[in-house]
Assembly symmetry: C2
Homo-oligomer: 618 residues x 2
């Protein structure tokens, strides 16, 4: 396209953005209009993509980090012939694929859900990492960012990661329109301020007038020809560009234009230009997934005597899985010696990504890698996964399939104290839509679950422990997701103890103690916290009438609440006592911590006895 045609295309994108928001009665036309020229030039001249084959391995990847500018994205889809004008006008309506913020759940051309700012670039880094280090298919990753979102720290985690990995296949385009939601940004139109920051982080920077299509065209060309480092194009633009009553004005964020017809006329009226997007040039195929033979690590019951930490089992099992499956990749947040991800790193360095202490970027990179077909396992301390909760939440909106592993769960870590204790992780992960939450108590169980979680949909979370625990299952035992294990049961059970992870051994010891007092207790290992084994729990409730749940986690949202999932459909509910961590721990030895929290064998036995006696009295 020549200059005039590019200008026309950009005006069409503006008009269609205005029309879509007007039809919806909501949306962000002004944020779309500022970036229309940037989008038009990208689409017409630089983006290589087959809209009929979004899975084509050579396709470039586009991420709309400023997800609220979705009208612009959908207008571009229309210009590329991917959607019809009629569908464009379904924007934001019930059942439409064209949501307020784009998601790959509904649209095949969307790589990742955006709308929580500062996430598109981090995920784009993950996709670019795949392109650079794994696929090597020659595609480029283009990320359109807003200027406001550069205030998010996650952007700078991404900037650091991209430069460190020399991702010259990545281009960030920043639509510097000066205005955030409620008013001017910190740096306004000071492009140099942003350039200094990106340069300091090791990026190639280009400053450009974002409404000069020829200059923008040259900037994209320069980005493509830059080697060894990622490029950011800082484009000076005007919010609401092209409509005088909206242009560069405050107070118009996230609102349809007041008089859409007039605005459309001012923009030169509707057009129906069609842009022919360049075909991808990839010569290679999708990475062939090699699913070869592998053996999970095995431990004999009770051996070694001191037990095995489930974090060790994680590291060993993941390494074995990586040997068998070439699509397994691992990430870690600079604690691989603690999470034991370092075992994988040693064996499969090419598929290991050190993310340093940047948990948001770690999860975002995992989402990006997953979008390219890899099966990522990202690990850090369970406590520090809280840092990335918004990314986990958005990964779920994307429908991304990622495995998260949180080590050092609970007060059982001992002396390091509360800052290092994962005590909210089960609540956090359970509340994520469609998640799978696993909490193994021994090494063989961990190994099986590490392998099984690869096959789940959505967000899967594995909680591991720092200290050794006794190997209580044989290596042939199976642990289906959604299952549980009844470790102890008799015809005379008057009580059921439900535990997982470190509290399983405590519950078994408590059952021994209760037996000495003449009370038979059933013990359930609820390793699958979500989905939960409703059937076994209901059976236990019917048989014993009393349940004690015990968990190394806050009382809210963890194992105790998971057990209740079995009874919230109107059926009779058993008598329940929930033991969990109710105080703020300090530093102490692991056994002292369990005792202080009231989740050790002694506490469980006391609670169980009281519950059974009360039930008799009543």
């Amino acid at each position: 396209m020549n200059t005039d045609e590019l200008v026309e295309l950009a005006q069409q994108l503006r008009v269609d953005s205005v029309r879509a928001a007007d039809a919806a009665g909501s949306g962000h036309p002004t944020s779309s209009m500022s970036a229309a020229d940037l989008m038009a030039v990208l689409l017409a001249h630089h983006f290589r993509y087959d809209f009929e084959r979004p899975a084509h391995p050579g396709n470039d990847r586009f991420v709309l980090s400023k997800g609220h500018a979705s009208p612009l994205l959908y207008a571009a889809y229309k210009a590329a012939g991917a959607i019809e004008d009629g569908e464009l006008l379904t924007f934001r309506k019930l059942g439409s694929r064209l949501e307020g913020h784009p998601t790959p759940r509904r649209l095949p051309w969307v790589e990742t859900a955006t709308g929580s700012l500062g996430q598109g670039l981090p995920v784009g880094v993950g996709i670019a990492l795949s392109g650079k280090r794994l696929d090597r298919n020659g595609y480029r990753v283009w990320v359109l960012c807003g200027d406001s979102e550069l205030a998010e720290g996650s952007i700078w985690e991404a900037a650091e990661h991209a430069a460190y990995e020399h991702l010259d296949n990545l281009t960030a385009i920043v639509d510097v329109n000066r205005l955030g939601q409620r008013g001017p940004t910190r740096h306004g139109h000071d492009l140099d301020a942003y350039a200094r920051r990106f340069q300091a982080f090791g990026w190639h920077t280009i400053e450009v007038d974002g409404h000069d299509v020829d200059a923008v065209d040259r900037a994209y060309g320069e980005a493509v020809s830059t080697n060894g480092q990622p490029t950011v194009i800082l484009a000076r633009t005007l919010k609401g560009k092209g409509v005088a009553s909206a242009q560069d004005r405050e107070g118009l964020h996230g609102k349809p234009l007041k008089d859409a017809d007039e605005a459309i006329a001012e923009l030169g009226g509707p057009r129906d230009l069609r842009v022919y997007v360049h075909e991808p040039t990839a010569t290679r195929m999708l990475h062939a997934v090699r699913a070869g033979h592998f053996e999970l690590p095995r431990w004999e019951k009770g051996s070694p005597e001191k037990g095995v930490a489930t974090r060790d089992a994680y590291g060993q099992a993941l390494t074995a899985l990586g040997t068998g499956r070439s699509d397994i990749v691992a990430l870690d947040g600079e604690v691989g010696d603690s999470t034991r991800a370092e075992f994988f790193a040693k064996e499969h360095p090419d598929r290991y990504f050190e993310c340093y202490i940047a948990e948001q970027q770690m999860v975002a990179a995992a989402v990006g890698l997953a979008s390219r077909g890899w099966v990522p396992y990202a690990a850090t301390f369970a406590a520090f996964l809280t840092r990335a909760y918004d990314f986990v939440r958005m990964a779920s909106v994307s429908g991304a399939g990622i495995n998260l592993v949180g080590s050092h769960a609970g007060v059982a870590i001992g002396q390091d104290g509360p800052s290092q204790m994962g005590l909210e992780d089960l609540a956090m992960m359970r509340a994520v839509h469609g998640s799978t939450v696993l909490y193994p108590c021994d090494a063989n169980q961990t190994a099986q679950l590490v392998a099984a979680m690869a096959g789940c949909e959505g967000i899967r979370y594995l909680r591991t422990s720092r200290g050794e625990s006794r190997v209580i299952y044989g290596p042939e035992e199976e642990f289906p997701i959604g299952g549980s294990k009844v470790l102890r049961s008799s015809a005379h059970d008057r009580l059921t103890l439900v535990a997982a992870g470190v509290t399983v051994a405590e519950a078994l010891a408590a059952a021994d103690a209760l037996e000495r007092d003449g009370i038979q207790a059933r013990v359930i290992d609820l390793y699958s916290v979500k989905p939960v084994d409703r059937r076994t729990l209901r059976r236990a409730a019917e048989d014993t009438g009393c349940l004690v749940t015990v968990e190394d986690h806050r009382e809210e949202g963890g194992l105790g609440d998971a057990v209740l999932d079995a009874f919230l459909d109107g059926r009779p509910v058993p008598r329940l006592v929930r033991l969990a961590v109710r105080t703020m721990p300090g530093s102490a030895a692991p056994d002292q911590q369990l005792h202080a929290a009231g989740i050790d064998a002694e506490s469980i036995a006391a609670a169980g006895k009281l519950l059974v006696e009360e039930a008799v009295v009543r």
Copy 2:
């Protein structure tokens, strides 16, 4: 102190760090040893602090952002005469004040809990903001950071915030010891790499040999005399400095030295130097809290007809509260026009902090301000508070008293779609130790709760809604925290509907529909989600036997689970049905969203009817 004395003091700090970790059998001596010279010079020459009066308004503030170097901090306390040698050796033991990572819950000289990296500097910015913009007491804030933690995006949110606010009372000291937990950092000893980044963000930077006490002394002096911008001192150091077998070596993070006696001998043996810390020079007093007269906004029942959004009530109530109390401050994440924090900003601009789109920094700044005695209210969309979960968690470890407000809760926001919907916020906030979680349904209730939450301990969370809701309470109604309101009840209730926020109106409508079917239903407005009104819930269970909970939130960890708190002590549990958001919403109108999620009046009535009928059959 002269050079030799400073060197001696630093060696003592090393020796005591080694001794403390050795006595504990765990801890981080090598990370302490790298920063010992930095700490010695600060303590002896630049830090102004009265250890006997930690609340002194003129005291400088020290934050150990690399919280794992706690042995160094405690060794410094000993050198300053704040603790005895005997206590130093209780490090990390049950009941000791000297935890693995320092917390203000136990030690009066600690400003904020650290141990989750990348948080000390952000909180330090909040303290410096207080000093610069509010207290104006002339104190300085010193933050000792590790180099590894500079990978956290939150550091760059803090860097941006500090430079933007010209916090020349803030000095960050980075102990660049080159080694993270599992090995070398990204930038090793490349001080320039860090300097470029901080300079780009607007900081004054000083590079120094961190083991040259005279150079360090000059650097501190330069920091103190720098005006208009914060200073970062980038100090080249060696991890494990002073003990050849540990110095600059990998694999020794977080471990006591192998042969402590030998190491102590190599360091010149134990010393018992006492350092006299400069007195604070403050002339001003603590900010006098003016608790004058103010009137909360009032609405008459049913007026205005279209209702009032609880977010509007938040903005108005906070503004009124700010008029009455001079210790109220507000923060917002660049969405003040949506959360309505802008009302406060207009009335009290001097106590309003625009944090731009940086939720971690917003919460950290609130923690810092709270540590100086202010009562902060920090607001953004409920969905985006997930970004700051690790900061909320750590604020709870600190025992900080902060108010968090999440607007745009649930599917009820409508067209914007799932990225903007707070659907995990109740689960996230309930799981925080000692938190208060409030979810009002009308304007008067909101106003009362905004005022009441100022008086709570710990983390308080208020969930507000985007759309208008009918004013159902009069302006004189009271809403104690931990209470609830029975909105409808009779002697013939066969069912209780428990709702909060937007589902209250739906529950009331459902009760009307059920009545038409001959079923009387009680309706409880459970505005205090945590602590929960156990008494009223138990009474309802006894009276009606059946409970339906309904919430605009994920099914895990929210209102439904909160209700169960009333029944987890072994007593008989009523039959329960939990209605919540079980699918991934798209874009649609608010009423369509409630219907699709199965939490509107129609769905509640249907579930209630089924539950009552099943209960009869069984």
